[in-house]
């Protein structure tokens, strides 16, 4: 699997795809190194970096103490010093401890220095709920981070993006946060043979449809695809748009799809109020208001610290059934009034 035939299709897990991407990056550029808690000896808390320590050694697969602010800041400094650090913050929940470094240094240094500096750091974070980890370990903050100018926010939701987005992130001179949903690590799928390098600027239509646009990213994308299946049996053809990057937003792709379908439902694992779904909705309203046949609808996480108990957690998170219901609501309202 280390050297797949360019034209042989490979089945691979999301986890292995990320690991292959890391291996490529480390092999291809001596300035790249991976740093974070338990990325080495332990093999990564989600086993993503397993085996890399043996292959690349402790200097480049660097275990850190529990010091999120310092090792994220050190990644920023290392980037300023000419390296291409990949900093793994085990989960987004712990990144709160490093937010000062991310917002006040990584995101500002290029502008504050009048363009003299750039901070080509890649920060990888596991994100999301769904594993009954409780309130402190189930945050979905990627949309929240997308509020910060100076950062690029990317969310690989497919095997191909898990495999190829890291290279694009490393190629960027700007700080990039890569959010990997912990629910996706075990997802298996086919790696498109010899897939073209991806960029961090474009959304992708994962399922074409004419009746409504489902805008989503990350784990929610797969819930949207499941909902679209169900809906198509009812004769409703949903187009499913994978945002892929939350900052910058591919507004053109969103608007193009919505102008075609004239209806939109935004699905976002963030807490409803102030989630990215609000920004997406607003962009649509600002620029495609007169193209809408119905109000934009949202399916988000309930406004509650995500609880441990399975039935409560499931009730708190977006679900294919909830998405399908929202779509039916939007479709049924169409035409009325306008």
């Amino acid at each position: 699997m280390q050297n797949p035939q360019p034209d042989a299709a490979v089945r691979i897990t999301y986890r292995d795809a990320v690991r292959e991407a890391l291996r490529d990056a480390l092999t291809g550029n001596p300035l790249v190194f991976l740093m974070g808690e338990d990325v080495g000896r332990y093999g990564g808390s989600y086993a993503v970096s397993k085996g890399l320590l043996e292959e690349f050694g402790p200097e480049r697969i660097r275990d850190t103490p529990l010091s999120e602010s310092a090792f994220v800041g050190a990644g920023i400094g290392a980037a300023l010093g000419g390296l291409r650090p990949i900093v793994e913050v085990m989960t987004v929940n712990f990144s709160l401890l490093a937010l000062d470094q991310i917002m006040n240094n990584a995101a500002t240094l290029s502008h504050m220095s009048g363009g003299q500096l750039s901070v080509p750091i890649v920060i990888r974070l596991a994100t999301g709920a769904g594993r009954q980890l409780g309130a402190q370990h189930s945050h979905s903050l990627e949309g929240w981070y997308a509020h910060i100018p100076g950062l690029r926010i990317a969310v690989p939701a497919t095997i191909d993006d898990a495999r190829h987005m890291l290279a694009a992130a490393l190629a960027s001179p700007d700080p990039v946060l890569l959010f990997e949903h912990l629910y996706l690590y075990n997802m298996e799928g086919e790696l498109t043979p010899g897939a073209a390098p991806v960029d961090l600027d474009h959304a992708a239509i994962r399922r074409p449809g004419r009746d409504v646009t489902l805008v989503s990213y990350g784990w929610s994308l797969h819930k949207c695809l499941a909902a679209a299946q169900t809906l198509s049996q009812e004769g409703i053809e949903a187009e499913v748009l994978d945002l892929r990057t939350l900052r910058p937003l591919d507004e053109a792709a969103i608007l193009a799809s919505v102008r075609r379908t004239r209806r939109a439902v935004i699905v976002d694992e963030g807490w409803r109020s102030g989630s990215l779904s609000a920004e997406v909705t607003t962009r649509i309203v600002e620029q495609a208001f007169y193209d809408l046949d119905a109000p934009v609808a949202r399916v988000c996480t309930a406004e509650v610290p995500v609880p441990y108990a399975r039935h409560l957690e499931e009730a708190a998170l977006p679900s294919p059934a909830g998405i399908a219901a929202a779509v039916r609501g939007v479709v049924s309202r169409s035409g009325s009034g306008i």
Partner: protein, 329 residues
């Protein structure tokens, strides 16, 4: 390193300590199985091997004292007196759980016992403990706040800020560092330039003592003298408990970072084995006594599982309750 070598041990007390440790041990062993049966989900961090720390400390702490713990807190919760069944029910995610099923293994709470959780953010509990101690001090109460955390937490900035604040304000707080040599897969000496945690604590002009965390008498004695000092206005202290985690960090840990030999060596020093043989050799306990204690512990765990199994789920309609305090509250 065991200051208790010379202590005279009474049968009652010896059996009491052993009973408490066995209760925790059999609770944890059952949790391990229940996780395999998917009755317990999420992250599960077991306390096997470290029982002497929780049990020794809780002998000293009073109802008016406050406890702040970590995600590896089953032992602290049980030793504090939270009924095993409400802890087990919590792990099952049931309404009868000590956090109504919202917390899970990492978030056990019991306000009536001043048990303030259960914190899944490493070192996240330390500042909260500082505040609890400040509240006691400003209200002229004699309570002491006991704050448990691991060796890994020592690297976090919150350790630094919290120890300084506590020493600066001379707060009634006891920091209990459970040094089990690893933070997940990271050995202490690969995380800390200075591996002697008492030395770090003294850099804040704080009293600090290293303790054999495998010797429940040593723990109890060290905690007693520290708590007495603190209660009488002597200011904060840190105890570094040398202990070891017998099981994996969590249920997802292949343990690539340590070898069997090391684990076995520590198991020989285990708090339960050593206390058992000690009590027997002192003629304070018979094998029958031991069997009985084990049976009783097992029976209590059985009852707890029973209770958890038969308990109701919180209705989904109540999902958003408690996000904000309720008028009643």
């Amino acid at each position: 390193m065991s200051p208790s070598a010379g202590t005279t041990v009474g049968r009652q007390h010896g059996l009491q300590l052993l009973r408490e440790m066995l209760r925790i041990r059999s609770f944890e062993d059952r949790c391990y199985r229940l996780y395999g049966e998917m009755k317990i989900r999420g992250f599960l961090h077991l306390y096997n091997g470290e029982e002497a720390v929780a049990v020794g400390a809780m002998q000293v702490l009073q109802p008016a004292d406050a406890i702040v713990s970590t995600y590896r807190e089953h032992g602290h919760a049980i030793a504090r007196g939270i009924p095993m069944k409400s802890v087990m029910a919590e792990l099952f995610g049931k309404q009868t759980g000590c956090s109504r099923g919202r917390g899970g293994s990492m978030h056990l709470f019991d306000a009536s016992r001043r048990f303030y959780g259960g914190n899944a953010i490493v070192a996240g509990g330390l500042p909260v403990a500082v505040g609890l101690a400040l509240a006691d001090k400003l209200q002229h109460r004699t309570g002491v706040t006991a704050c448990f955390f691991g060796d890994g937490a020592v690297a976090e900035g919150e350790f630094h800020e919290s120890l300084n604040l506590s020493a600066l304000w001379s707060l009634p707080i006891l920091f209990l560092c459970e040094n089990n040599l690893y933070a997940m897969g990271t050995a202490l000496d690969r995380a800390q330039a200075q591996t002697d945690i008492t030395t770090k604590a003294r850099a804040y002009r704080m009293e600090a003592v290293a303790v054999d965390g495998m010797d429940v008498f040593a723990v109890e004695e060290a905690v007693r003298s520290a708590v007495d000092r603190i209660r009488s206005g002597g200011g904060p202290a840190l105890l570094e408990m040398h202990t070891y985690r017998f099981r994996a960090h969590s249920m997802f840990d292949p343990q690539l970072y340590r070898d069997k030999a090391e684990i076995e060596a520590w198991q020989k020093k285990g708090p339960i084995i050593t206390l058992t043989s000690r009590l027997k050799s002192l003629g304070l306990m018979t094998e029958e006594d031991y069997q009985r204690l084990e049976r009783e512990a097992g029976a209590e765990v059985d009852a707890a599982v029973q209770f958890a199994e038969s308990s109701p789920w919180e209705p989904v309609s109540d999902l958003e309750r408690f996000v904000y305090a309720e008028p009643s509250a």
